[in-house]
Symmetry: C2
Subunit: 230 residues, 2 copies
């Protein structure tokens, strides 16, 4: 913590480089924990995911993990943070379409595609550990009160709700969507996408053909099902 005036000396430069290397090594161990956790979670499922196995996998004692993460949820939520950042980027990219109706479908496609492509992830984030969103919502509230102090990734996804509602509003203004409370309709359509993915991922008696038909019907619904009367 003492700042001696040693800038420029060989010793100082050495010390700085050393600190940087140590920082790097620390991040590497941290990344190894996250990678092993991710892999273990994906192949054994959330219920059977244990920190002890993660520790064994990467050749550390169980206690070591606690030098890098506060607890098990900290590991899990860090993974979810990264995942939802990726998810959010995907949705944002899908929203880069001018025509409102096609933008709706494009976002829907991105959402459903991600869910079906990462079912374990989707289940953990949206079905099993929904308290993740409680934390994310709190973080969002805190960072809107303050001047954006710590970026919580989950809060980013929550922010995309705004984008989604804006798309609905645009579609209404453009006359391609039946008029109504944009906020409520945005929530309903979001619930629709969420539900379709959840059902597809979870229901054991839904075969691939049935899932495809359901999803096609969902896109169709976004496209023409809510069309404003001619």
């Amino acid at each position: 913590m003492k700042d001696k005036d040693t800038s420029g000396t060989r010793a100082a430069r050495l010390r700085a480089a050393s600190q940087q290397r140590r920082h790097h090594e620390r991040q590497e161990v941290r990344a190894a924990i996250l990678k092993a956790s991710s892999a273990l979670f994906l192949e054994r499922g959330y219920q059977d995911f244990s920190l002890r196995q993660v520790a064994e996998q990467i050749g550390y004692a169980p206690g070591t993990i606690y030098l890098y993460f506060k607890d098990k949820d900290d590991v899990l939520f860090t993974i979810l943070d990264e995942g939802s950042a990726h998810f959010g980027a995907l949705l944002l990219e899908a929203a880069q379409i001018a025509e409102p109706r096609e933008r709706l479908v494009s976002i829907g496609r991105a959402f459903i595609g991600f869910g079906l492509g990462n079912p374990a992830f989707f289940q953990l984030m949206f079905m099993q550990r929904t308290d993740y969103w409680v934390r994310a919502a709190k973080a969002a509230q805190a960072s809107s009160a303050d001047g954006e102090p710590g970026r919580a990734e989950g809060a980013g996804l929550l922010g995309l709700f705004t984008l989604w509602r804006a798309t609905i509003e645009d579609a209404m203004k453009a006359g391609v969507l039946r008029l109504g409370d944009p906020s409520a309709i945005a929530d309903v359509l979001f619930s629709l996408m969420y539900g379709v993915v959840a059902i597809a991922v979870v229901m054991p008696n839904f075969d691939q053909k049935r899932i495809d038909a359901m999803i096609d019907a969902t896109y169709e619904m976004l496209r023409v099902g809510l069309h404003a009367p001619a």
Copy 2:
């Protein structure tokens, strides 16, 4: 296992009554386990629900529960069986409306009402332990192959999918629903109801007003959103 010809004697009658009483006592302990489990689950949540605490609550040693249930999941799934029987009866009752469009809304109202009224239940059954449906689907498959041997309650709920699709078909025939693949549309609308409940139950930043607006919009969608073009 030996059947001596002792029917009618005092001893035989006494033996029969004794067996019946023992059976009754056994069912009582079983019921006590289920009741305590249910209560504990409802107040502490699924994650913190433990058989040892159930045992302590009803004044038995932990091992005793295993004389009445195979394992923890057996207890949990038995509770879910009872819950889904209740749920199924509710949906069936809601379906007793002749007019197809109103029947759609009525079933939707029953579904959403149950979900919002029993959030812990809904979450456990539809979000956290979805493998319950895997077992239910297997049971349904088995009981349709054989001559309905053991009734699995979960399978009963699965059977309501048929009722739901039939309602969609009726609505299409009556001209109050846009034409399309009834099966796919039934699945989509089911997913919609599911999603609305899940979002309402889970999302921390949805206040009551927002939930109400979303649900009203959902009913509106069932009622007129998919209306056949005039």
